[in-house]
């Protein structure tokens, strides 16, 4: 059964191309939204297996969204992404509950299947 993924990014061009990438990789993209608030709503509605989340959202920063979403048991696998070169320190990433950070220009070569699979599989 294909894994379901939610895309969260405030740029429409990126949402479109991310949707294409995830579809090609075999995921079902349940929705793409532009803000943290919309992300909470979409996760509540669709219960996706994974979330591809931009760290620079207009209403909240990606880390705080991650902490809110990953906190619940059975929550989605969250992969943070960004245009910017810097990455969060490992400790910060781990503490937030995110699965990984992948820069946007590395998404095509990343092993998204492994990253979005439930932990332990």
């Amino acid at each position: 059964m294909p894994l379901t993924v939610l895309v969260v990014d405030d740029d429409a061009g990126f949402r479109r191309v991310a949707r294409r990438l995830l579809t090609v990789r075999g995921f079902v993209v349940v929705d793409d939204v532009a803000t943290g608030e919309a992300a909470f709503e979409a996760v509540r509605r669709h219960r996706p297996d994974g979330v591809l989340l931009d760290v620079n959202l207009p209403d909240r920063d990606g880390l705080s969204v991650t902490r809110a979403l990953a906190g619940r048991a059975g929550g989605p696998s969250i992969v943070l992404t960004s245009m910017d070169a810097f990455r969060y320190p490992e400790a910060v990433l781990a503490a937030s509950g995110a699965r990984a950070f992948v820069a946007k220009e590395r998404l095509v070569e990343a092993d998204l299947l492994q990253l979005f699979s439930p932990a332990g599989t």
């Binding site: 740029d11 061009g13 990126f14 990438l21 090609v24 946007k104 095509v108």
Partner: protein, 353 residues
Amino acid sequence: MTSAAQFLARILDGAPQPVWVVDEEGLIVFSNPAAVEALGYDDSSELYRRPSHDTVHYQRADGSPYPQDECPMLTPSRTGETVHGEDEWFTRRDGSMFPIAWWSAPIAVAGGTGAVLAFSDISERRAAEQAVRERDAAEIRAAESRAAQRRVVENSAALRRQVARDLHDGAQQRLVTVLISLQLAREEVEVDPVGAGRLLDDAAGQAQAAIDELRELASGLHPPVLAHRGLVEAVEDLAARAVLPVVVSGWLPRRLPEAVETNAYFFVAEALTNVVKHARAAHATVTIGVDDRTLSVEVRDDGIGGAGVDRSGSGLAGLADRVGALGGRMDVASPQGRGTTVRAEIPVGPARG
């Protein structure tokens, strides 16, 4: 004289404080050596029984005549009250004048009540006060100049931040999307050429959007037309793109230094932005001219007027800073209800060659 009287006499003789006594008619009946010297005479006999006002106090500081009935210094002999002041001027024997601080008290003389006067030359004190005023004025000017420079630096830092944000959110975002599209197209080109083709179309669209944004950004920083064709053509370009009709007149016989043309261009750009934002005008004109030493740029609109440099948000302070940074000056005429004219005059060197 008794020894007490002799002692008093010695006090007056030796004291560095000018003192004299006039009788009930205003004639000088005593003057001590300090008074004689202060007034540029050699001996008290030159002053004895001369009318004090007509001898040393007959003109004001600007040389105009000083009628005796307007003089406050002799009133004690009439009123019996002590008086004091700091704004009178005495004239020396050689005609030169000096400012004095003075005290005048009534004193009994043979014929009635006269006045005993003590006065001091306060030229040095006046000069010191003037120096303090000038130093304070210079400090205020220096503080204003520093504040203007700080605003220029802060504005340019704010502009850089804005440019960085525009680049990040705009063109960089577009290019990242182009990259991902190309990477995906590369993967799919053999197994799904049609799909790959759609990705490539998408990438082309994003690339074009990035190019347009970068062009716009560069134009905001330094428009190519300004570099290639000069100030007047760049301003005509601005005028053509403005939302209200703008007529540009004037011409430049030569290219001016780059900093001058750039600042003049942005002066016009910001002035026109102000017109659009605040003036509610129907038309605007821009006039450009240069003579041997000054570039003049004037932006005039037919709007509501009433603009002031101190009114925050009017945008005029930024214009003034920009012009001031080049050593120029800006004038604003903005009568209420009758339009606004902002005029910049920027020094340029004389034509070379």
